[in-house]
């Protein structure tokens, strides 16, 4: 069984068509969804970065 991946911007399955805009927009957006489980993240944007937290998969930084 292969694991599913999710779009960090819209939260839909990454394998679905229609994510080119999401990929472009992620240059100016922090992720809003966990790419491993598709859950909504708690996100804090700071002047020079961002941090996010998934209740299942823990912290992310960028």
């Amino acid at each position: 069984m292969t694991s599913r991946e999710f779009c960090g911007l819209c939260g839909k399955e990454a394998a679905e068509a229609g994510h080119p805009d999401c990929i472009v927009l992620l240059a100016l957006e922090p992720p809003r969804y966990c790419t491993r489980c598709g859950r909504r993240l708690k996100v804090q944007v700071t002047p020079r970065g961002w941090s996010a937290d998934c209740i299942e998969h823990g912290p992310l930084h960028g």
Binding site: A27, K42, T46
Partner: protein
């Protein structure tokens, strides 16, 4: 009747008197081929009445999301299906953000909360946060916490907050199409209280929200009447899940006309690039705006979205030979 650009030159550049509503409508209706000369006049006005310096600011969200208000452009409203979740920043993170901002050469650090107005918990967090920042970082602290009572205005001044942001957001005639949970007049009242307190007033708005050119001119004229120390100019970045999420981006030409119009309405005000410029104007348009009336920038990221790399903006200012305003000159 003289041409509007010539009128701007004689009235605003030479005499320092801002254009009124009718003239601003005319500016916003100028054809694309006249934008370069419009920007040239707006830039000359900025240089003569404000000087060559650029004020640099960083902003951070102390309390994100879960706002009870319904500002139709905002992803932080709890009334919409936006993906933004509620989160609070703690004091050590707040101080770190201020330090990062100061490291860019910025003189302003604005603490923002997505609220109707501050409650006791938020005011306590502000008290602790402002004190911690002032002990650790040499930077002016500003705040944006929604509508205030007179007591809260006095408390913020007492804490050492030197500038308070509260935008009109939109022209009075368009406000009801943007926000229904409070009134334009309530916003105006908070702005007047802030100004009367001796704190500097930062008050601007957004363009590209579906308003008419006349309403865009109206916003500029109403801001000029209010007379804030600083006007942040935002370009709508349509956020998913909000009522304005499907609106088209404003064109770069319209954005540049708006920048020039706001500068010609308010010759000596700090006019700041705020959110949305990356999408609306891109790199080239950002440069054009800095040569068309803008004299302040937010560097780095915004509240929920990412901005241009701060180093890119600072390099652009250096290339344009625009010195960054120093802290001593702001105190």
């Amino acid at each position: 009747m003289t041409d509007i650009v010539e009128r701007a030159r004689s009235q605003v550049l030479e005499r320092g008197v801002g254009l009124g509503y009718d003239d601003l409508v005319e500016v916003l209706r100028l054809p694309d081929e006249r934008i370069p000369e419009l920007l040239e006049v707006a830039h000359a006005v900025r240089l003569k009445h404000c000087g060559p310096e650029v004020e640099v600011e960083g902003i951070v969200s102390l309390k994100t999301g879960g706002c009870p208000e319904d500002c139709h452009f905002c992803s932080q409203s709890g009334q919409f299906t936006s993906p933004v979740r509620a989160v609070w920043l703690d004091i050590p993170q707040l101080v770190k953000a201020a330090e990062e901002t100061a490291a860019t050469g910025a003189t302003e650090f604005c603490i923002v909360a997505a609220v109707r107005g501050p409650d006791e918990r938020l005011m306590a967090q502000m008290r602790d946060g402002v004190r911690a920042i002032r002990e650790a970082v040499d930077i002016n602290v500003a705040a944006s916490l929604g509508m205030l009572s007179q007591e809260q205005v006095d408390d913020l001044k007492e804490m050492g907050v030197h500038r308070y942001n509260h935008n009109l957001e939109a022209a009075r005639s368009y406000f009801g199409s943007v926000v229904t949970t409070h009134t334009w007049e309530e916003r105006w009242e908070t702005c007047e209280m802030v100004r009367a307190s001796g704190m500097e007033l930062c008050c601007g708005g957004l363009v590209g929200m579906g308003e008419t050119l006349e309403q865009r001119a109206e916003l500029a004229a109403q801001l000029a009447e209010l007379g804030p120390h600083e006007v942040p100019l935002n370009f709508l970045n349509p956020r998913p899940g909000t009522p304005f999420g499907e609106l088209p981006l404003m064109s770069a030409a319209d954005a540049l006309r708006a920048i020039a119009a706001f500068r010609l309405a308010m010759p000596s005000t700090i006019l700041r690039y705020a959110g949305g410029r990356e999408l609306t104007l891109g790199d080239l348009g950002t440069r054009d705006g800095l040569l068309g009336g803008i004299n302040a920038v937010i560097v780095g990221n915004y509240l929920t979205t990412l901005g241009r790399d701060a180093d890119e903006d600072l390099a652009l200012l250096a290339e344009l030979k625009m010195p960054i305003k120093e802290l001593a000159k702001t105190l």
